[in-house]
């Protein structure tokens, strides 16, 4: 038997003895025993309180970690949503009667390529649009060329051909119906839609 076991054995014997002693001593030296008992109780209560506090702290910590994780997840989701929104809302703009990609347009398209790489399951439609100047019929063809030149850039950047469809709306769907240079510039665009 180890020392610990002996101590435990001793305690097993000692506790009933103390109890017997205490009951016998009830009438003689009771005060000392009661004090000891109270101290013991106090100690136990303190111990319980300490354990409870520890438990609470642990739970709080867990909650904090969970909240942080949620926050992180939310932030990630928000970032993802923002990236998606940017993908859908940032348009590729063109000069009048042109389907050539400007350096600005290519910058916008590079961001689209990155997003498409991060979202390999997504299939898209590239819409070609024109401003209201010029002729309606010619603008249908110009919108087609704009959508196709954007698609070509994406394919050349490694995005699978099969993921990209194109459509021309000519001048039929302006973003801004006003008749001024700012509105026309806004309306000459390629716009992305998720299929």
């Amino acid at each position: 038997m180890s020392v610990k076991s002996w101590v435990r054995f001793g305690l097993v014997l000692a506790v009933p003895c103390v109890m017997v002693l205490a009951s016998c001593a009830g009438k003689t030296g009771g005060t000392d025993l009661a004090e000891q008992e109270m101290a013991e109780q106090l100690r136990q209560e303190e111990e319980a309180a300490r354990l409870a506090a520890e438990e609470e702290a642990r739970k709080a910590e867990e909650a904090r970690i969970a909240a942080e994780r949620l926050e992180r997840e939310k932030a990630e989701a928000r970032k993802k949503a923002e990236a998606k929104a940017a993908f859908l809302e940032q348009h590729v703009h063109f000069e009048f009667d042109s389907f050539a990609l400007t350096s600005e347009a290519m910058k916008v398209l590079d961001a689209k390529v990155a997003w498409l790489r991060n979202n390999p399951e997504v299939k898209i439609i590239v819409e070609g649009h024109c401003d209201e100047r010029g002729t309606r019929e010619y603008n249908l063809a110009l919108g087609d060329r704009r959508a196709r030149s954007v698609k070509q850039y994406l394919v050349d950047s490694g995005i699978a051909d099969a993921r990209i469809a194109t459509i021309s709306y000519g001048e039929e769907r302006p973003l801004d119906p006003a008749q001024n240079e700012a509105a026309w510039a806004k309306n000459r665009r390629a716009q992305f839609v998720i299929r």
Partner: protein, 448 residues
């Protein structure tokens, strides 16, 4: 005003609509001032349209006569080639004692300042049919230009007046077909762009498509029975070829564009721009929508085909030189020739019905978008619209007398009409929303 004018019995037995030409002096044709569409200026011919003359007390014809005369005066005026003086809008306008030359006081009409005079007599035949006897006189020469008699149910009075208006216009322009024609156009009245048709004067509007999508570019077949157009009904800009009675038809849905249809004159075939092969080229299709062959072979945009009336030439817009310009392809030799050199933007070609002119749209810096007319022999160009914002989509009436077009001169795009000279520019019709792309029906010919 109701005088007995029928000095001789009207014993013609005619089926409805049939007409008989009076034996007028054969030389009279030469004396009528035939309007030359090639002349640089248009002089309107003053014409008197006095009240009609009734044979006997025939109250039953009063209503038809009055409404008919109003319609007739309006139709003659609509052509833009006449200065109309009529009993309908001039109170106290001189009347007629009779409709034949011997009953007409030409000096009175000369004083009135007119060069032509239309006399119209109505009689209710024994069988209840309406008989209309109409004459056009040359007031200066005091001679009969043409006489016609029409017969049919009273309820068809409008048609008879229309036939005579057609005759009057024919006498001065040498061509017919305006008053029988219709226009197809696009309107967004319902909130969606749909195809509509109307009569030559903008009346009788009827909605053709109900796709609730975007419908564009209506094109009449040369027999007048089919319309081809583009619709986004199924998502993509597809071509629809539709019979106007019953709506049966065909659907062309190649990947990419299926746009800007134009029928081949006298055939159940059409040209249209398709982009399924990657470039926007013009293809020849059967009326059922099957590709027959490729008509243009460009690496850049080719769009808006338009055939000459004999079908031997096809004008189209191409960006092959770096800006949209009008080209013409000889269908037999395949040779392509560029027609426009002025400015960086020339589109929407439309051959005149005699094949001698081309109307088109040009954009010039500081001048907006305007309609021009090119004489194909000599390629002289005349500007037909100016100082009126955007003017697009020219289309010739089947007699070549008028050009309908779209203009934003009053804000939103609406339909307008002018003479082939650019005179008499006015709204064609008034309906809610915007209207674009008028296409005049052709003088009907049967398919070969």
């Amino acid at each position: 005003m109701k005088k007995k004018i029928w000095s001789y019995a009207t014993v013609f037995v005619m089926i409805f609509g049939l007409l008989i030409v009076f034996p007028g002096p054969s030389s009279s044709m030469d004396e009528v001032p035939i309007i030359d569409i090639h002349a640089p200026f248009l002089r309107k011919i003053p014409i008197a349209i006095p009240a009609f003359v009734l044979a006997g007390e025939q109250e039953a014809l009063l209503d038809a006569g009055e409404k008919g005369l109003e319609y007739f005066a309006g139709a003659v005026d609509f052509s833009g080639y006449f200065m109309v003086q009529s009993a309908h809008d001039t109170p106290g306008f001189p009347g007629l004692d009779g409709i034949v030359a011997s009953k007409i006081d030409f000096s009175l009409w000369k004083k009135q300042g007119v060069e032509l005079l239309a006399s119209i007599g109505l009689v209710l035949a024994g069988d209840g049919q309406l008989e209309m006897e109409c004459r056009l006189f040359d007031v200066v020469q005091e001679s009969l230009v043409v006489g016609k008699r029409y017969r049919g149910p009273v309820s068809d009075y409008r048609r008879m007046f229309r036939l005579f208006a057609s005759e009057v216009l024919f006498q001065v322009t040498g061509r017919q077909g305006l008053y029988e024609s219709r226009l197809a156009f696009v309107s967004d009245t319902t909130g969606h762009k749909e195809i509509y048709i109307c009569d030559y004067d903008g009346t009788g509007v009827r909605q053709i498509t109900k796709d609730q999508s975007i419908a564009l570019s209506p094109a009449w077949s040369s027999d007048g029975n089919w319309l081809a157009y583009t619709s986004y009904r199924e998502g993509n800009p597809d071509l629809f070829i539709r019979h106007l009675d019953g709506g049966r038809g065909f659907h062309v849905s190649k990947p990419g564009l299926n746009v800007t249809p134009a029928w081949v004159p006298g055939a159940f075939q059409l040209a249209a721009t398709l982009s399924f092969e990657g470039h926007q080229n013009i293809y020849l299709l059967t009326g059922q929508g099957k590709v027959i062959k490729k008509l243009t072979h460009s690496w850049d945009i080719d769009v808006s085909p338009a055939f000459s009336p004999d079908g031997k030439q096809m004008a189209f817009v191409s960006r092959r030189s770096g800006s949209p310009q009008i080209y013409v392809k000889d269908m037999e030799s395949g040779r392509v020739q560029r027609l426009t050199y002025e400015g960086n933007y020339n589109t929407s070609p439309a051959f005149s019905p005699d094949g001698r002119h081309l109307a088109f749209v040009g954009m010039r810096r500081g001048e907006g978008i305007n309609i021009y007319r090119m004489d194909l022999d000599g390629q002289r160009v005349v500007q037909l619209t100016q100082n009126s914002r955007d003017n697009e989509d020219p289309t010739w009436s089947p007699d070549g007398s008028l050009i309908a077009f779209t203009s934003s001169r009053e804000g939103v795009f609406n339909l307008y009409v002018m003479t082939a000279y650019g005179t008499d520019q006015r709204r064609l019709l008034s309906m809610p929303g915007g209207q674009t792309t008028p296409r005049w029906s052709l003088k009907p010919v049967r398919f070969e």
